[in-house]
Amino acid sequence: MSEPAIVLDNVSMMFNLNKEKIDNLKEYIIKFFKGQLNFSEFWALRDISFTVEKGERLGILGFNGAGKSTLLKVIAGVMKPTTGTVKREGVLAPLLELGAGFDMNYSGRENIFLYGATMGYSRKYIQSKYDEILSFCELENFIEAPVKNYSSGMRARLGFAIATAVDPEILIVDEVLSVGDAKFRIKSEAKIQSMFDKGVTVLFVSHNTDQVRRLCNNAIILDHGRIIASGTADEVCEIYEEMIHNSKK
């Protein structure tokens, strides 16, 4: 079980923060000639290196603005790091902002195939998982209706059902799994637990040390873009609780 699923090597991410956001040509040309195109550098991540083994469940702790979302985006391949490299093995399913890839004018059924294709799966493969997805999200009566008429809970349920049905090898879970109503929450937690048992690799972002202790075996703390602590979940959670305690003083 010591094959790495994710390897980050000296990853740094720098943003150019502009004082005002310029998004049109007119302003850009005016500012350019006035010499007002100033950027200030902001390092969201600095020299992050770690390895996540296959089947490992890593908790990522940190205050707001510590760089957690940036780190997840870099791992998911959405952002390319300024320096350093990211290596991933296996299919990755981000369980964050579920249903973000839906087309609002498309029906639920059509969106299942579109979302599946976004993750790189064929129509045939999704067809074989179709019944499972449908029975899991319990939207049988609405599946032919356009997604724009769905409630946000229904959308999240559909998104969760698709993202977990395809047997991803790496799961990115953001914050509490507050999907849908209480009944669906129990169901989705059971689903996640069963994926844990199958040995899926998990990245879990949270503020809640109890959840991290319960779900993860290892953890790291991010602060101002750096890893300031890493180790087993219990050790790291203790450090984090101390940090919270100190900052309250």
Binding site: L92, E110, L114, G116, S122, R123
Partner: protein, 266 residues
């Protein structure tokens, strides 16, 4: 840049199908708009410009068909490049969450427009059949009509290249869309859609400038095959082919260099 196209071929297919489906979903006449729109606009253009440019010019052979050929190609060019231009900003919600090769969006939009364009060519077939069977102004149907796909392929490559450039620019500068609308309007008048360059009474300099427009070469090649039934002028072929390849290379290069910065501006 195109190495993971094979892995994401399903996504490409899904987006192409989606674009075509969504376009006609909420209209009563559905796919018939593909035929009705060019038919109606051509009728209007024939009524407006027919007296001025059509009746005196025997070179044009058949003015309505002449006009339709130009209009169909122009419409495909503007629609596909405009859709490609907006494709990245419209897919921001996906691009921000999941890794997908981003060129898939402009590519899929040009392809889906190309498919609706091919369907709309049935109107042209209808025109040719009608004018040859029921009027005394037939078009010249010869085996050269089978070569009509050549200018269309070159046009497709051109649109893809320009679409990649525009989609990159529109991520960084939102006002490109308005500028491009104006450009497309000018292009309508500077492409010989409703007039014939050779019978314009303008100075040789202006005429050369009009002929330098790659759309002139493409429209002329298409008309040679479909309307006049003769081989095209090879200058048109080499010029437009060269232009399309340069555009595709430029588009790929610009898109490739800038694609990692998209996320910071979406």
């Amino acid at each position: 840049m195109f190495k993971d196209l094979y892995k994401y071929r399903y996504l490409l297919r899904e987006i192409v199908v989606k674009n075509i489906k969504i376009q006609y979903r909420n209209s009563v006449l559905g796919i018939f708009w593909t035929f009705l729109q060019p038919l109606l606009t051509t009728i209007v253009l024939v009524l407006v410009f027919g007296g001025m440019f059509g009746s005196r010019d025997a070179q044009l052979l058949n003015y309505p068909t002449y006009l339709l050929c130009g209009r169909l190609l122009y419409e495909f060019y503007t629609q596909s490049t405009k859709r490609a231009m907006r494709s990245i900003t419209l897919s921001a919600s996906v691009i921000k969450k999941v890794y997908v090769p981003k060129y898939i969006y402009p590519l899929a939009n040009v392809i889906s427009n190309f498919i609706t364009f091919l369907i709309s060519l049935l109107v042209l077939v209808g025109f040719i059949v009608y004018f040859n069977l029921f009027t005394d102004k037939p078009t010249n149907v010869t085996p050269y009509i089978l070569l009509a796909w050549v200018p269309l392929v070159i046009l497709f490559i051109t649109c893809l290249g320009i679409g990649l450039i525009l989609s990159t620019m529109s991520v960084f500068f939102k006002d490109i869309e308005y500028l491009y609308d104006v450009f497309c309007m000018l292009l309508f008048y500077f492409t010989p859609i409703f007039y014939n360059v050779k019978s314009l009474k303008v100075s040789p300099m202006v005429m050369k400038a009009l002929m330098a427009n790659p759309m002139y070469s493409l429209v002329s090649m298409f008309r040679s095959c479909v309307l006049f039934g003769e081989m095209w002028n090879w200058n048109w072929f080499w010029y437009s082919l060269g232009f399309s390849i340069v555009m595709l290379l430029m588009g790929t290069l610009i898109f490739y260099k800038k694609q990692d910065k998209f996320i910071l501006h979406l």
